[in-house]
């Protein structure tokens, strides 16, 4: 990747602006990408990265401004046009069909797909060429997250793109899988394909990207060469403030609060992962971090711990009492609170107000229901307390949960559980889709509860987060949990192996 200054410009974006009611997603954004360049688009959630790439991919139309591709004016009305101009995109979410086969999924993303049988052959060939082996006949629902991403990448590669857009591609991968992905991307870049790489993982960007454009609140605030900057410098450009890592208080290890042993349960979710013989214990004051690539049993583990999924007798005990047969409310009474990953629809009822949502999980422990009647004043002050303590930005507690932004609602649902003086806390993805400042606040709150003597289980796909707050570390891999190990002294390679390595993908790249 040397001598790129001599390369011709591929895409130029100039003065692009896009406003939605109440928010300007992009304001006068300009940047350019050269052929074969790996260009990073950096920014926090809500900085406007997604809107910007959606405009390049033709999903959203800019209000003003213009784009040029290979010197010609470029204004795609729909993804079809973008694809035929040589722009392809690998999505972060929402672009695969679980009940369809790999080949069918690939065909859906192509303009003029060949017959399925020929397509299957091409998928095999291209996937091996780039070290991403893939069986075209398998159902996507049965694939791991890493394999699913391969489907998306192959779908793009079959169209010989000039520009490949990747939206947060590594958030679902193990460290080993990230390495393989980077090799593939470097190979593509060497062949002249430009890559627009969206991420907020700074070390990855320093390892991979030639240039970076940093967005904050819809505006370009800086451009830089990532190799020449430290991750901290870039983070501060992104956030626009200096960041302080969470503090943890000194603590003495208490007695066991949550004991899980021999927990096996079939998944109630279609294409879900069943839990197999899970065992661990968490002491008072301890934070256990559970890592794993998405879809390896995280949701099921949360359901089993919260009581939404009952398990065999003797598999789960809180403070020495068997709670395996108890439902969520009885477990709350026993001291266990849980915050699931899905904020809207699982943690919170979208159309109910914050007060009502506070009642739903807080009624038992906070004593908000007396003789079958709801104590509204007490419920309201409980909800107001959460809003105040966790800095939830909302016009009031009367607004519907769905009206809050993702980060604010996350602060509310996590705060609601943490405010109930629990002895055991289970949280899945505590800071998913939350900006850096709010994430830091949530992590600090979790550490504070642990310091006060709560046993905490944090399930997360964000390794940095787990390494920051957890005392012990375990990983879920196809429904099995590795034995927990102390975080101190763990290397990233060991963590990767605990998470299941690269699912047998190493071989493919050694051939190169």
């Amino acid at each position: 990747m040397t001598g790129q200054t001599t390369r011709p410009e591929l895409l130029a974006v100039s003065g692009v602006t896009k406003a939605y009611p109440g928010v300007v997603a992009n304001s006068d954004v300009s940047f350019s990408i050269k052929e074969g360049e790996v260009h990073a688009l950096l920014g926090e959630n809500g900085a406007g990265k997604s809107t910007l790439v959606k405009m390049i991919y033709g999903l959203v139309k800019p209000d003003s401004g213009s784009m040029r591709l290979s010197g010609a004016a470029y204004a795609p009305n729909e993804p079809r046009q973008a694809r035929s101009s040589g722009v392809a995109m690998v999505f972060q979410h929402f672009s695969l069909f679980e009940a369809l086969s790999v080949a069918e999924n690939v065909a859906l993303g192509m303009e003029n797909p060949p017959k399925l049988r020929d397509l299957a052959g091409r998928i095999r060939k291209v996937s091996e060429e780039y070290g991403l082996p893939l069986d075209p006949d398998r159902m996507v629902g049965d694939l791991s997250a890493g394999e699913r991403q391969r489907v998306e990448i192959i779908r793009c590669l079959l169209q010989d793109p000039k520009l490949l857009i990747m939206d947060e591609p590594t958030s679902v991968l193990t460290p080993q899988e990230v390495e393989i992905l980077f090799k593939t991307l470097r190979q593509l870049s060497a062949e002249g394909t430009a890559i627009l790489y969206i991420s907020h993982k700074l070390e990855e960007i320093r390892a991979l990207c030639d240039e970076a454009t940093i967005l904050r609140r819809g505006k370009v605030v800086a451009t830089c060469t990532p190799r020449d900057r430290s991750a901290r410098e870039m983070a501060e450009l992104m956030v626009g403030a200096t960041l302080t890592p969470p503090e943890r208080g000194a603590k003495a290890k208490g007695e066991t609060a949550l004991q899980v042993s021999g927990l096996s349960v079939a998944s109630p979710i279609p294409f879900g992962t069943s839990l197999k013989n899970i065992g661990f214990s968490v002491a008072k004051g301890e934070v256990l971090g559970i890592a794993g690539v998405a879809g390896n049993g995280q949701d099921e583990l949360l359901l089993a711990l919260s009581g939404e999924l009952r398990t065999a007798a003797g598999t789960l005990s809180i403070d020495g009492k068997d709670v395996s047969a108890l439902g969520p409310n009885d477990r709350r009474r026993a001291g266990l609170v849980a915050a699931p990953e899905e904020r809207l629809g699982h943690a919170a009822a979208p159309d109910m107000s914050l007060v009502e949502n506070a009642l739903l999980s807080g009624a038992t422990r906070q004593g908000l229901v007396k003789n079958g009647f709801i104590d509204w004043p007490a419920t309201r002050s409980f909800a107001e307390g959460i809003v105040k303590d966790f800095d939830v930005r909302t016009p009031g507690t009367h607004v519907a949960a769905r009206a809050l932004s993702g980060g604010n609602l996350q602060k509310f649902v996590v705060g609601r559980e943490l405010s109930q003086a629990p002895t055991v806390i289970v949280i899945n993805q505590p800071t998913w889709g939350v900006d850096a400042a709010a994430a830091a606040a949530i992590r600090q709150a979790i550490l504070d509860r642990a310091a006060q003597g709560a046993a905490v289980v944090v399930i997360s796909q964000d390794l940095d987060e787990l390494l920051e707050i957890a005392d012990n570390f375990a990983a879920l891999n196809e429904g099995r949990l590795t034995p927990p190990r102390p975080v101190a002294g763990l290397t990233i390679d060991e963590i990767g192996l605990m998470m299941g390595g690269a699912h047998g993908m190493e071989v493919a790249h050694h051939a190169h």
Partner: protein
């Protein structure tokens, strides 16, 4: 007693009895494959029955009658499509309302048509084939709609399995967000599927009023639309199983009629109940095989799509 029932005649008449259900069910299967749950099949069928009847009587041409039935029911389905796809109303409630609306409207249109005889639809002349013993009576002595119903199953099966249109339709029903992200027009595809479902239900309804009965009375479809809905689930969204389910239901219906005629010792009410009871039983058994039937359901079934998400 059972000896009085001629098996060839029984099979031939069950094929006729199943036609309305097959047509309505295969139409609804396409709608549900696109991720839309239209519970208004009964309403669309009865609109098809009256529109087909009125058109046939007015023009004297039964073929135009079927066309009229298809158009009338498709127009009604468009009401459903508009409400659910553009106004984002709840699909279950809108579908139920559509049935009530269709029943009322058909009864209004049908004022003055009671006792009127529609033009007759003849059997397809297949010449010597119809004279083959047993087989000729079963297979080659029917009106064209019987053949059309089987052909429509084959066509839907082939389109869903082998064509790009079918793949896109299934993709939209599987995940509208993903389909939208890839640039497919979710709403347009769903509206077209809804109209197809309406037209097929309409032809099924017209078959009841023009051939099976043939005359007009209020509520003539007598729950066939609901059975069609059940059969789509019974078939776990697979076209050929729709045929199986419909023939099973049609067979039991015809059998119980024959048993009544033959003077079986069982009271007639229990016999009339039998097809519905057996449908419920089969559905319960099907869905109890944990997740098997539900796994094949389109993942986005019944969910409204809004592009801004």
């Amino acid at each position: 007693m059972l000896g009085d029932i001629n098996p060839a005649v029984l099979i031939a008449s069950l094929m006729v009895a199943s036609v309305p259900i097959i047509l309505a069910a295969i139409g609804e299967l396409v709608v549900e494959k696109a991720g839309v749950l239209n519970l208004g099949v009964e309403g669309m069928m009865i609109m098809g029955a009256i529109c087909g009847f009125v058109t046939a009587v007015a023009t004297g041409n039964p073929y135009l009658g079927f066309l009229g039935g298809a158009v009338g029911a498709a127009a009604l389905s468009l009401v459903f499509g508009f409400l659910t796809q553009f106004m984002l109303s709840n699909q279950v409630a809108t579908g139920l309302a559509l049935t009530l609306f269709g029943q009322g409207l058909s009864s209004l249109i049908g004022q003055g048509y009671n006792g009127v005889k529609p033009p007759l639809t003849g059997t397809v002349p297949l010449g010597p084939l119809a004279d083959i013993p047993v087989l000729g009576r079963i297979l080659f002595d029917h009106d064209w709609v019987v053949y059309f119903s089987v052909a429509s199953i084959a066509a839907v099966w082939a389109v869903l399995k082998y064509t790009r249109v079918g793949l896109i339709l299934r993709a939209v029903g599987e995940s509208h967000d993903a389909a939208h992200a890839l640039g497919y027009k979710v709403i347009r595809i769903r509206i077209l599927a809804i109209m197809f479902g309406g037209a097929m239900a309409g032809i099924g309804g017209a078959y009841v009023s023009l051939i099976r009965v043939p005359q007009w009375t209020d509520g003539i479809t007598a729950g066939a639309g609901w059975i069609a809905l059940a059969i789509v689930v019974f078939a776990s969204w697979k076209p050929w199983r729709v045929l199986l389910g419909a023939y099973l239901f049609g067979g039991i219906t015809v059998l119980q009629l024959n048993l009544q005629a033959a003077g079986a010792a069982i009271p007639a009410h229990y016999l009339s109940m039998a097809p519905y009871l057996i449908t419920i039983l089969v559905l319960v058994v099907m869905s109890s095989g944990k997740g098997r039937a539900s796994l094949n359901a389109p993942a986005a079934l019944g969910q409204n799509f809004h592009a801004s998400r």
